[in-house]
Amino acid sequence: MVARTEIRNLEGRKMVSSIGMIVLLVSFSMLFATLLLGYAIYRLTSDVWPPMGMQRVPLFLPTVSTFIIAVSSLSLWKFEKEFELKKEQILLPLYLVTLTLGAAFMGVQFKLWASMKAMGLYVEAGIFPSLFYTLTWIHAAHIVAGLLGLLLMIPAIIKQDFDEKATLVANVSKFWHFLGIVWFLMYVVMFVL
């Protein structure tokens, strides 16, 4: 009986925090939706895009970022599955892959900003660089939060607290996948189109 209440409580807590996380992600998606809407309006009301004297940002680095974040999402998804199944051996490699890819994404973002500067696209130079820097900054700030979330999972992996930490793992992955989706939208809207 005690065990059953315990399980019920764990299930309850997991459900509660996933509802909380979903509400939070709705909030975040409104933030990014507003930013992307702003982007769309600036772009659609502009006579030429990019504005005169500026070049498009080359697709190479953003494509690399997209690839990295997609793979990291996959590995984290696999990690979450294995965490639920309590498979100890495979957890650490999957976790390290995700963390490394997450850090690599940030690295590529810094490279992207440096390359934009090299192209003469400075933040103050007009609406075109303003948009690119601001949107990628805000996304990167969330990536940093996501990385901190990933670091929070270390004790769970070391102590193998599968029941207690299931909620944390589920929430961090939700947040990470969300950031992946946002990046993909940004990639298509800002860099490809």
């Binding site: 509802i19 709705v26 507003t34 702003g38 005169m52 004297g53």
Partner: protein, 575 residues
């Protein structure tokens, strides 16, 4: 519902854990209440300075004028006037009304009314208060910067709010304060929504929740969805000011594409119109409950009231364009927004009729919470009807940016929300602090406030209709407005009287909280909702045993009731 046993913290013993960093939703509610009352005072004094300037141009502000504006001999200077109306609007909306209705009563009422022991995320709840506190400090810090506080209006439209319009740090601090407050509100919203979904007592369906909880829950949904929109807007404004981006700079450079000041207005009002309902929905919910409690009748059409509030919530998200009829939108768009805006009158009329249906032939008890609730019905009626003129493109083009607008939104947002807040204060006082406020002085407070605010806002509509522009330091330099000075004097005297009446409330409140010996009974108003089944003030962890809900919140006059009771507790089942 009640998916799990909530973790119970040990009863706090130290001063810090009990009153400062408390996890208890009731204490956090009270913290928000004091916070809101403090800012209500600050914003109120600013309002009086604005009114003083309009009634007595060039006359020093009494008492504190000499101290605040020594370089002009106590007269409010023109640039300070702009800061005053900016800060008054910001403080009243974001730092007074929001913390009192959503922060204080949302936190206090939701767990008590749905039969939970606390919010679902107590730590998040505590953080949300302290982040709001930091935001308040940031905002007030603006007042002490070299070029003064923000002065771009509470809407902070660019170009008034860009570095060109307001070069000082005050405006940056304003934007930062709003962003930080948004973070706090979002945390609150996550907490409220999750709590309402999972912690309702066993047996409590959504329609068994009191309408106050409906109002607060819908508010939380709007908050979760639309605060981030404002967040994005002010974030871009901060970037414009700090990092030199050009989002809102018109014609920044012909070759590099230009920013667009109007975009800020779109973003602001996509948030701003739902914000009106964020503020008013809790008051509506509370009034819907109180009218039934004090008319000793079931709330007429309670389900329809809840559903009307829900449809208003949904409609509120697609009408924001009516704030921008004069920004050269396409006529097709203005007409669409006008039509959608008018659609809101349908659900509004439904629940307004339900309010009247609730008090119709009731055995009304005119206690102070009821008086304030009836006050809300009256002022909200006026506010809603005057809204029709502003939602219609043709009349709005004339009335735009006049005092008619100021009168309208003060009726809907200031008057009705304030009265709703007072109703809630007087009503839940016993559950919050264990004492009742003095009923006689409460009634005196009500009548003076009611007369005062109608004098102010009705007067504003009259001068607005006569063409008096808002935001002008001295509109009477224009000949056609010179003869509006007497009525402005009348408005100002009404404001002073209303302002002084609030001292009655503060004294009554402070006396009841700190000095009154006489404890109130557990259920002084004879009401059946869950919070009245427990002792006053509500004990640590609210419910010793979680209640099981058997009926709705407004059950009156059941023939099977025994004794001289006319109400039924939500935990009772009568055939």
């Amino acid at each position: 519902m009640a998916f799990f046993e909530q973790h119970m913290h040990a009863k706090p013993t130290t001063f810090l854990s009990k009153y400062i960093f408390s996890y208890d939703h009731k204490v956090i509610g009270k913290q928000f209440l004091w916070y809101g009352i403090f800012f209500l005072g600050v914003g109120g004094i600013m309002a009086l300075m604005i009114r003083w300037t309009l009634a007595f141009p060039g006359v020093p502000f009494p008492m504190i004028g000499q101290f605040l504006f020594p370089e002009t001999g106590g007269v409010v200077p023109p640039d300070t006037y702009a800061m005053l109306f900016t800060m008054h609007g910001t403080i009243m909306i974001f730092y007074a009304i929001t913390p009192i209705l959503i922060g204080a009563f949302g936190n206090f009422l939701i767990p008590l009314m749905i039969g939970a022991r606390d919010m679902v995320f107590p730590l998040l709840n505590m953080l949300s208060f302290w982040i709001a506190f930091i935001s308040g400090l940031l905002l007030l810090a603006g007042l002490f910067t070299p070029l003064g506080a923000a002065a771009g209006g509470w809407t902070s439209y660019p170009t008034l709010s860009t570095l060109i319009g307001s070069p000082g740090v005050g405006q940056t601090l304003w934007a930062l304060a709003i962003f930080v407050l948004g973070v706090s509100s979002t945390m609150g919203a996550v907490n409220y929504i999750t709590t309402i979904i999972v912690l309702r007592a066993p047996g409590m369906g959504y329609f068994d929740m009191p309408l106050s909880v409906w109002g607060l829950g819908l508010t939380a949904i709007l908050n979760a969805i639309f605060i981030p929109v404002l967040g994005a807007g002010v974030l871009l404004l901060i970037f414009d000011r700090v990092f030199g981006t050009t989002f809102f700079l018109a014609g920044a450079a012909a070759t590099s594409g230009t920013g667009d000041p109007i975009l800020f207005q779109h973003v602001f009002w996509i948030f701003g119109h739902p914000e009106v309902y964020i503020l008013i929905l809790p008051a509506w919910g509370i009034v819907s409950d109180l009218l039934s409690f004090f008319a000793r009748k079931p709330a007429f059409g309670a389900k329809a009231t809840a559903l009307s509030m829900t449809s208003i919530t949904i409609l509120s998200t697609i009408v924001y364009g009516h704030h921008m009829f004069t920004t050269q939108m396409s006529p097709l768009l203005t007409q669409s927004f006008m039509t959608l805006t008018m659609t809101i009158s349908i659900p509004s009329a439904i629940f307004f009729a339900n309010w009247l249906g609730t008090i119709w032939k009731g055995s009304i008890r005119f206690h102070s919470p009821m008086l304030f609730s009836l006050g809300v019905v009256f002022v909200f009626g006026l506010g809603g009807l005057t809204g029709l003129y502003l939602g219609t493109v043709t009349t709005d083009l004339y009335l735009h940016d006049t005092y008619f607008v100021v009168g309208h939104f003060h009726y809907t947002m200031a008057a009705s929300v304030l009265l709703g807040g007072f109703a809630a204060c007087y009503f839940w006082m016993p559950k919050m602090f264990g004492t009742m406020m003095n009923e006689f002085w409460a009634k005196v407070h009500f009548w003076i406030t009611m007369l005062g605010l109608n004098g102010i806002f009705m007067g504003m509509m009259v001068v607005g209709y006569a063409g008096m522009h808002r935001r002008l330091y001295n509109p009477f330099v224009y000949d056609f407005m010179a003869n509006l000075v007497p009525i402005n004097t009348f408005i100002t005297w009404s404001a002073i009287v209303m302002g002084l009446a609030q001292i009655i409330f503060v004294v009554n409140f402070v006396h009841a909280v700190f000095f009154k010996k006489e404890k109130s009974s557990d259920n002084p108003w004879e009401v059946g909702t869950l919070e009245w089944t427990i002792p006053s003030p509500a004990p640590h962890y609210n419910f010793k045993d979680l209640p099981v809900v058997k009926c709705g919140p407004h059950e009156y006059g059941n023939p099977n009731l025994t004794g001289d009771r006319d109400f039924q507790y939500q935990t009772e089942e009568l055939a």
